[in-house]
Structure formats: C-alpha cells, structure tokens
Amino acid sequence: MDAFVLGLDHIATVQTLMAIVIGTLVGVTVGVLPGLGSVIGITMVLPFTFAMGQMPAIALMLGVYCGSVYGGSISAIVINTPGTPQAAATALDGFPMAQRGEADLAIGWATAASVLGGLFSVIVLILAAPQLAAFSLNFTAIENFALGCFALICIASVSQGNMAKGLMSGVLGLFVASIGLDHVTGDMRFTFGSFQMAAGISLIPAVVGLFALSEVFIRASEARLPKPEITHKVGFRLPALREWKPRLWLLLKSCTIGSFVGTLPGTGAATAAFISYSEARRTSPNRENMGKGEPDGIVASESANNAVTGSVMVPTLALGIPGDPVTAVMLGTLIVHGVTPGPRLFSENIDIVYAIFVILIAVNLVMFVVGALGAQAFTRALRIPEPLLMTMVMVVALLGAYGVRGNALDLIIAFGAGIVGFALRKGGFPLAPLVIGMVLSQMIENSLRQGLLLTRGDFFAFFERPIALALFVITFLILVWPLLRALWVRRRYWKPS
C-alpha cells in the first residue's frame, strides 16, 4: 500500500497529469486514423519524451498506447474502417449499429467496454506482475535462455496466415540484432569494418522505419482512396444500466480472454479481440443478432482488446520481455528514460512500478472522459489531408529515430528499415515477429553463452535445472503440437476402414 502512495506521489505533478491527458488525446486521435496504429503513435511521441522527465514520459507513452487501442473503435463504428487492426472486430457490429442511426450508442458501448476492459487488465497487472517478477528474480542465464526460446516459439506459432513467412521474419530480426558488438567476446560482427556500425542496429530507428516509414511508403504507392463520408450522427450515449446486466458475464469473460492473451508473448490486442468476438458469437444469448449491430459484439471486441493493454505489460515489466512491437518500443523508451524493466525493477524501484499502475488507471479514466466529450471531435481527424498527415508522421518519426542515440547513422537505418518494411509488407511477411526477434536476439544469445561459460561448455547441464527444464519441455510441446494434432486427426480418420 505504501508503494501505491509513493506511486501516486510520483504522478501528482502538473507535468505528469498533463502528459496523461495529452497522451490519451493523441492516442485516441492516432487510433481513429486508419493505418496509424499504436506503434506509430508511440514512435511519434518519442521525440517529445526526450525533453521530459521520467514520469511524464512514461505517462505520455501509456496514454498514447491505451488511447490508440480505444480510438480504433471510433472509426470502426463511424466509417466501417477500423482505425487500428485491434478494432477490426468492433466494426462487425459497430458499423451496422451506426447505420441504424445509433452511432452514438455504439460509441458509448465501445467506450464503456474499453474502459472496463482496461481497468480489469490493470488489476491483472497489479496482481500478476510482482509475483512473476519475484518468481523470476532468481533466474540465472540458463533459465533466461529457456525463457527466450519459449517466447520465440510463441511468436512463431501465432504468426497468422503463413507460418513460414512469420518464421523468416523472426529469423531476420534475430540476425539484425546480432550486428555490431558481440557482447560476450567484445568482437565486431557484420560491421564490414565500418566503425559507425559497431553500435549496431538499434531497435527504435528500426521500428520507426519498419512501421511508420513503411506505412508512409505504402500510402504513397497506392492510389488514394476517396475520403470517407461521415453521414451518421456521431456523439456519445451511454447504454442504460439494464442493458448492461445481461452482458456482465460476457464482459467478464471478454476481459479475462483479453488479459490472458495479452500476457502471451507475440500475440496482441487484435488476436484477443477476435478470440473474444468468436467466443461471444459461440455462446452469447444474442448470437443470432451478431454481425447485425448487436452490442454484444462491441463489448466482446472492445473489452478484450483493451484488456490487453495492462496485461501485455506483465511480461514486459516483470521479465523485460515485450510481448508485441508496441511494448518493444515502450521497453526501448523506458530504458532511454533510465527505467530498465525486469525483476530488479520490482525489488529496487517498486515506486516506479506502482506509478506505472496508477498511470494506467488514470489513463483509462481519462479515456472515458475523452470519449464522452470528444467522440465527435476525433472523427474530424479523419478529414486531415493524407499527404499532410503522412509528412507529419515522417518528420516526427525520424526525429524520434535520431534522438534516441543522437547518431546520424540511425536516420539511414530508419530509411533502410522503411524500405525493408515496405518490401516485407508487400510480400506478405508479418513485421511483428521481426521486431520480437530483434528484441529477444541478444537475450537468447547472451544467456546461452553465459550459461555455457558457467557450465564450462556442458549443454546437458542446462536440463538439470528444473525451471529451465520445464520451460524447454513446454517449448518443445508447443513446437510439435500441430504435428501431434495432425497425426491424431489422421488416425481417427483412418480408424473406420
């Protein structure tokens, strides 16, 4: 409890409170604009955080993150184009509601469900993160290696669509992060004698290029779509309390799904929203109406995707392992601001951890007010001319890329990554595994080599440690699960004959 008070103390400054409000406003705006997702939102505020103190910087980022996940629902409802992939499922029922002239009510449902989902996941974070951190505090290099393998496999198995392409992206990420100084021997790798390359490809310029610049390039390469006409009455109307009653169970279930999915590495809010939506479609008493403007669909999708926002911070804060590109950038930015996530953060700077909890709660409350008062205003962002918007994205994103290390090479890296990101997206390669690969690369490699130094080169000693062994076994099972399932299905199929 004392730590909570300390956390409150941290954020009770004008700068931090303003950062929470501004962050949420920016986040919702970015969320509303199709194509500019949470990652681009965070990279865009990055340069502004350099001039800020630690707490306002963290508050700004968390505000942008949570706000953007919610903001996507507004455009999903109003123009049937989800502002972020996370809100894709929201459009399924949100837009039909808007067509019925109930856009205000749909936004009301979405806002309330988002805020409740967000708050639910903060509770999950508060309960789970310290436990996980305490559990992992005694992880040695060997357990860290096992954990890294586990995280890597999870990413591969959730790369929707094409597993091979997902794996290739992941491997590319692992490789890119190995450029530069080899931490274990002090040697240089893949620098081709260039001194500047010794610093390696750092995460933030790479992400800026992969996500923000590639988005700009894609927009530039495609024919411009006509501006969507907003014909519906946009506003904000909270559903009546009696409307909520039969949906409480659905809400709770969706929040739980979202929070659980969020803790898994490599997944994210979009996955959570779709799982939750299909679960609602399977079990909701109103399932007949789903897809035709049933509030259940909005509640399922929006509470689940916002329930990811807190729980995705569990592995990020407790283990220092980000679950998706958004938290990867956030992790990088936290480190820039002198906060290194991981178990030690909980034992040494618990006040910062609690400040993050308090900020997340505050952001969700602000989000409600912002949604209630400003839903109308945010749809105006959709009228910003695209070339203007893209130029803005480019300038601000490049500022962020340069500012992290003050190294001009990072601008070249960002541009290079932008071109690579553009090519990968055109080729249907998912970008998330690449970023996660980059983040995990050093952890996996260094912990493997540290472990081998400690065991004097004996790899079998890795399996003598129970936690590491358990993680290896789980990793192996996840890896062979699709194979086992295929075998099992085939055997059943053959039996009758």
Binding site: Q54, T185, F195, R405, N407, Q450, L453, L454
Partner: protein, 317 residues
C-alpha cells in the same frame, strides 16, 4: 574586373575570419557529449556538472547523449568534432583507456586535448554478504585449491572491472572464468543468484546495496572515508589501483586559450555545491585534476591497461 572581385571577396573573407578569431569564447552554447544513454551514472554526473559550468562560462551548456558500442561512438564523435571548443566530451575510463586496445577505433589518446578530470572513485571487489570469502587471501586460497571454479562477473569485455579481474588473477596466480553480463545491474543479479562469485563495482555500490553485498578489497592505494575499515588490495599484498573516473576532453587542436577557459569552468563546476553533493551521494570524495595532469594520468592508465589486455590476449591486432 575579375581580380577586383577576387580581392574584394578575399578582403571580406579576411574580415569575417578575423571577427571569428577575435570573438570572445564562448559566444554560443557548449555541448558536452556523453557517450552513454540518458539516465545513467555518467549522464547524471554530466548534467550536474553542466549547470555550474554554464554559470562559469556565461553560456548555455547542453548535454548530448551519443550512446553505443561501449561509449566509443560518443568518444569518436568528440574526436571528430570541430576543434572550436564548443564540443566537449565527458569521457570515462573505458572508452578512453581500454576500448582503443580492444579494436581499431578512429581515435586514441592523441586525438584529444585535455581539459580536466572531473571525478574519480575507487572500485572494489564485491562478493555476496553470505560469501565465505572475507578477505582477498580467503578467495585466493580457495582459487588455488579449486582451479576452474571461480566465476568472475564482468559488465563488459575489456571494461575496467574486467581489466581489474585480469590484473588480480595475474598477481595472485589464479584463474577466473569471466562471464560478461550487460552492465552492473545484471552482473549484480548474477552474483546474487550464485552464478558468479564476485565482480568489481564502483565503491558507491557498497553503500547502496549494503544489505546484500560486502567487499573483500578496495582497489585503490588509499582507504576511503565512507568505508574506512575496508582494506585496500595493497594492504592485503596485491597492489591494485583501478579507479573509475571521467574527465572532459576536446578535439585535438583547440585554441589553448579556449581550453583554459573550459578548464577554469570545469574546476568551478567540480567545486560547486551541486557537484559536491552529487559526489557525496555516491559516497566518493571530490577529485579534480587540471588538463596537463589529467593528460599524463590518462596516458599512464592507457599504458597500464594496454599491458593487462595484451597479457590476456584481448588486444586487437
């Protein structure tokens, strides 16, 4: 006609150049390059120093973080900066005296003119509070009886703590397995979980983590007031002096007058209340050296570390 224009432009250029040379340094903001990221120990020290230095110089002093490759990117940026005195590097011991031996870098001790040493604190060999080692002798004895058992955590290959470990192993006739972790935090964690037996840390580490660690030797010629009962390695029969220091340098060729102004500002900064307070919070004495003294100090450290790294086979071809 042509030659008139030429003469005219030469004259104009001459006037311009003359004005630049005559102008009083500093006429714009001075940048201190910190070769590590914001929020770290070096960065905080630089920011504390920047305030009083700005007052002394009568201009703004901006801290710029140029992070990467163990501090060498920032050091190289300082060496390559324009030699007008507006770019100053706060370069610590690692990028100055160990990194140039590890690989070919576009700078060395000759790339700089020296302004001042701003801080220097002893390092110490740290073990777990419950460790059976209570003195250097305990540890050396154990190392001799149990070869290939002692693990020595290092914050980075070729860092001062690593060099200190090499020096200790050499002097005591024992072997360590050096396990590199990413910085002091992870190295400390690895010691707490029993992966490594010891590591070398800034002396302030002993006060901030007093309930979890103890030290078996101070790697300094003299004891320190904040831990007055901690014996130096020398007192225990192994002469070792591995201070963790940092100082201001400018690119080679800066006008000596400008350099002197920076030195005066640095001295004022180091003796300012804010800076003294910062050093006290770290539990270390305020140490200052002028440019000339600092230069010979850097060169001596550079030579000594060259020897230790060469002996360990870590020296670049």
């Amino acid at each position: 006609m042509k030659s008139h224009i030429f003469k005219l432009s030469a004259a104009v250029a001459g006037i311009c150049l003359g004005t630049v040379a005559m102008a009083e340094f500093p006429e714009r903001a001075v940048t201190i390059v910190v070769p590590f990221s914001a929020g770290g120990g070096t960065d905080i020290t630089a920011r504390v120093l920047a305030g009083p230095m700005a007052d002394a110089l009568g201009t703004e002093v901006v801290v710029k973080n140029t992070d990467g490759a163990g501090g060498t990117i920032g050091a190289a940026a300082t060496a390559a900066a324009r030699d007008d005195g507006y770019t100053v590097g706060l370069l610590p011991v690692g990028p100055m005296t160990t990194q140039p031996h590890l690989r070919n870098l576009p700078y060395g001790p000759d790339s700089f003119d020296y302004v001042c040493l701003a801080y220097s604190a002893p390092s110490a060999i740290v073990v777990r509070k419950d460790s059976e080692f209570n003195s250097l002798a305990d540890m050396i004895e154990f190392g001799k009886e149990n070869p290939d058992v002692l693990n020595f955590g290092v914050q980075a290959i070729g860092s001062i703590p690593h060099v200190a470990g090499l020096g200790l192993a050499d002097a005591a006739g024992i072997d360590f397995t050096y396990v590199p972790y990413a910085g002091s935090g992870p190295t400390f964690t690895a010691m707490l979980d029993g992966s490594v037996h010891m590591f070398v840390a800034h002396v302030s580490f002993l006060t901030t983590n007093a309930d979890q660690v103890k030290s078996i030797a101070l790697l300094s010629d003299e004891r320190i007031s904040t831990a007055s009962d901690l014996k130096t390695a020398g007192e225990q029969g192994v002469d070792m002096n591995f201070p963790i220091w940092g100082g201001l340098v400018v690119p080679k060729g800066v006008d000596p007058e400008v350099r002197d102004k920076l030195e005066t500002a640095c001295e004022a900064g180091v003796n300012s209340d804010a800076f003294v307070e910062r050093m006290e919070s770290l539990g270390t004495p305020v140490v200052y050296m002028g440019g000339d003294e600092f230069e010979s100090f850097v060169r001596a450290e550079f030579e000594r570390n060259d020897g230790l790294l060469s002996a360990a086979g870590l020296k670049a071809e």
